[in-house]
């Protein structure tokens, strides 16, 4: 049995190494791709503004409105604006020679009662959805300010309109654990639930495939002449479980490393751009930095160690629970094609528990969440996610009950699966009805 365990993990080495290394590599690639897109998608735009309404050239609280538009920073790229008096038509032919990328044409309009305004952006290239909407929003705000000013409000009041910065801080009633911000709990909880869901499905099916492979190429008879069916099944489940665990640990280490490197690069990059940018941007950067620091603080306060332990426990429990069922299904099917119908009853509870996760996020201490995190079929996906909202969220008796039920649950499914497995693995050729499977459960030996 021990040999088999070692063995199975070794058997899978080739694909194992590939997936273990490629998955984080893929993640890294994805991340860096996003990063690269961020850097290179943003080219600076220089836009000439032909303003016939003259609202944008007038002097305002903070300089001309056009200067407000100036240096609109959007996704690592900057839009520069320059006002002009030339006629729109002549600009159309000359803007490129002047070194601009486009013309923003603002027709004459009456600010008091215009509801629908139409400006034109004349260019050879497209600005892109993000920049366009940012530009529109900026213009809208300026117009709004202007309209308020026209209505006769004093400048100070207008200036103060933008000075409100609101943050809602949640404070945990329990003093033991600093309550994480809901967003991060949500993120971590979802990541864990999703990972659990993936892992159970992936390794469960790999147990099933392994069993049905052994059955369909008949090697199982040879092996069963040496060991008991239960030993073979358990050996396979444990072997693949260990593979999963190893993979997991490597992933955690790799992603931690990747994250670290990524952050380092990001920090360097931020330093660089901070040096190049002007003062108002510096301020912007500072708030960003502060936000990042706050986030890091929350993450640091998170009971990662405990959560990881709980996660590993539920991973093992959930995996054992479902893997033995998958093994039983594998023993029933043999040939791949008719497996779907039998796999469904096993995957269904996994999928349902995954959807329960969303209900859990709506209300982490609601009834649905409580049951989902206690019942053994859904607890592996739901309990760690619930705990991510803080350990004080879950009464200790619920946690203990959940753990106990999970242990009982997997002992129970393993017992049932062993019975089905023992009979099913040696039956070839005929289709097996669920009724017959039911009968096997009562075979005494």
């Amino acid at each position: 049995m021990i040999i088999k365990r070692e063995y199975l993990s070794r058997v899978r080495t080739r694909t194992f190494i590939l997936t273990t290394l490629l998955a984080p590599l893929g993640l890294l690639l994805l991340l860096s791709f996003q990063f690269i897109v961020l850097i290179f998608s943003g080219e600076d735009w220089k836009i000439l503004v032909k303003d016939e309404s003259s609202y944008f050239n007038t002097v305002n609280v903070s300089g001309t409105l056009i200067s407000k538009l100036q240096d609109e920073k959007q996704l690592n790229s900057t839009i520069f604006f320059k006002a002009t008096d030339e006629s729109y038509d002549s600009l159309k032919s000359s803007y490129k020679e002047k070194g601009y990328d486009g013309i923003l044409y603002i027709p004459a309009f009456e600010i008091k009662d215009s509801r629908h305004l139409k400006f034109e952006l004349y260019s050879e290239n497209f600005l892109g959805v993000n920049k366009l909407s940012a530009l529109r929003e900026k213009l809208r705000i300026i117009l709004r300010e202007t309209r308020i000013k026209e209505a006769g409000l004093p400048d100070e009041l207008i200036a103060s309109l933008d000075k409100i910065d609101l943050e809602i801080k949640e404070i945990g009633a329990n003093k033991n654990i600093a309550k994480g911000s809901s967003d991060i709990a949500y993120g971590i909880g979802f990541a864990m639930g999703f990972l659990m869901y993936l892992v159970i499905i992936i390794y469960g099916t790999s147990v099933m495939k392994g069993v049905s492979e052994e059955k369909s190429n008949r090697i199982v008879e040879v092996i069963l002449s040496s060991v008991k069916p239960f030993q073979l099944m358990l050996g396979k489940i444990i072997g693949i479980g260990l593979v999963g665990l190893t993979q997991f640990i490597i992933w955690i280490m790799l992603s931690a490393g990747t994250y670290f490197v990524f952050m380092l690069v990001l920090a360097n990059f931020a330093d660089l751009s901070a040096l190049q940018s002007s003062l108002p941007q510096q301020a912007n950067m500072d708030t960003q930095m502060m936000q990042a620091q706050q986030m890091a603080e929350v993450i640091r306060n998170f009971p990662i160690k405990w959560l990881l332990l709980i996660f590993l426990f539920y991973f093992l429990g959930g995996y054992m629970l479902y893997a033995s069922l998958f093994a039983a299904v594998g023993a029933l099917v043999g040939e791949e094609n008719d497996s779907q119908a039998l796999v469904f009853p096993v995957t269904l509870p996994i999928i349902i528990s995954f959807f329960m996760l969303f209900a859990l996020f709506e209300n982490p201490s609601g009834q649905m969440a409580t049951w989902a995190s206690i019942l053994p079929f859904s607890s592996p996906i739901n309990m760690p996610a619930r705990l991510a909202f803080g350990f004080d969220q879950v009464p200790i008796w619920q946690l203990i009950l959940s753990i106990a039920l999970l242990i009982l649950g997997f002992i129970f499914t393993t017992w049932i699966a062993a019975k089905i497995y023992r009979v099913g693995i040696l039956i070839y050729g005929k289709k097996i009805s669920l009724k017959e499977v039911g009968k096997w459960l009562f075979y005494t030996h």
Partner: protein, 302 residues
């Protein structure tokens, strides 16, 4: 002393009685054939012996004891449907299967390498099984069966689906193993194919043991005193005697049956007296197949 003994072994699958109080003994150092049509219960019996499934009742004794560990350790089993892990390499695979039997990885490795050398296929060690031809994987499967030096080698339908060359190969290996001191128990439904090979047989039908014993004895026990006579030239008229009956005549071949206690010499004398020019003379022993059919039909009549 038998190497393997079955006492009143029975097995049911639901409503189907697969084996009915089976008693069987296999002595050491013989080639033993388990014969019977499809569905007679041969595979079930072998699976009980190899401890793949448990009998409902009865005992299985190995070397006179009910010790399962020892039995598993000293039996080598090759199932009817052969299978190996396709993606695994030959060497790894054999080491794994042998180690499961021996419980000792280092020893398993030594034995596997020894066998690969013995069959001159050391260079297959790192080949994946999926690259082997059918005959080649046959050899690998065979090594997997015998690498742990079993005392009893059980082969379920070893000849099914084999071409004559591979059949011969298996046959030679069976004999070599017997000469090495092991007992070989194999099942087959192609009875005529194995008559020359097996020293003892057991006939099984519908889960029951019909006949069991040394092949020669059984044949003698059920012989019907048929004699095939080859002659030259025309056949003179030979009147029937009470003890002699001409069963069949085709060309120059006559088939006589002797009744009573009369010896073949009397038949010959009788023919010679009539001036028959004799060319050949053989006793026709019944084939296992014939004995089987006769036994099954008489039993059904009962």
């Amino acid at each position: 002393m038998y190497i393997l003994e079955l006492e009143n072994v029975s097995k049911r699958f639901g409503d189907y009685q697969a084996l009915q109080s089976m008693n069987l003994g296999i002595p050491p150092g013989v080639i033993f054939a388990l014969l019977g049509p499809n569905g007679a219960g041969k595979t079930t019996l072998l699976r009980i012996i190899t401890h793949i499934i448990a009998a409902d009742s009865g005992r299985v004794l190995f070397e006179g004891k009910e010790n399962v560990e020892n039995r598993i350790r000293k039996i080598g089993y090759m199932p009817e449907e052969r299978g190996l892990y396709k993606k695994m390499k030959v060497g790894e695979q054999l080491r794994y299967l042998t180690a499961l039997k021996l419980g000792n990885a280092a020893e398993a490795k030594k034995k596997v390498i020894g066998w690969l050398k013995r069959l001159n296929i050391e260079d297959w060690y790192n080949k994946p099984v999926s690259e082997l031809s059918k005959g080649m994987s046959q050899k690998v499967q065979f090594i997997a069966t015998v690498a742990h030096d079993p005392q009893l080698i059980i082969l379920d339908e070893p000849f099914s689906g084999l071409d004559p060359i591979n059949s011969q190969l298996i046959e030679d290996e069976i004999i070599a193993l017997r000469d090495g001191g092991a007992s070989i128990l194999f099942s087959t439904h192609r009875m005529e194919q194995v008559e020359g090979l097996c020293e003892e047989i057991a006939l099984v039908n519908k889960g029951r043991l019909i006949l069991n014993g040394r092949t020669k004895e059984i044949k003698n026990r059920y012989k019907k005193n048929y004699f095939r006579i080859g002659i030259e030239g025309a056949l003179p008229v030979i009147e029937e005697t009470p003890f002699l009956h001409l069963e069949k005549q085709s060309g120059n071949e006559l088939l006589y049956r002797l009744y009573g206690d009369h010896t073949p010499n009397e038949l010959l004398r009788h023919l010679l007296d009539k001036g028959v020019e004799l060319h050949s003379f053989n006793e026709v022993l019944p084939t296992i197949n014939e004995i089987f059919i006769e036994q099954v039909s008489t039993r059904n009549d009962e």
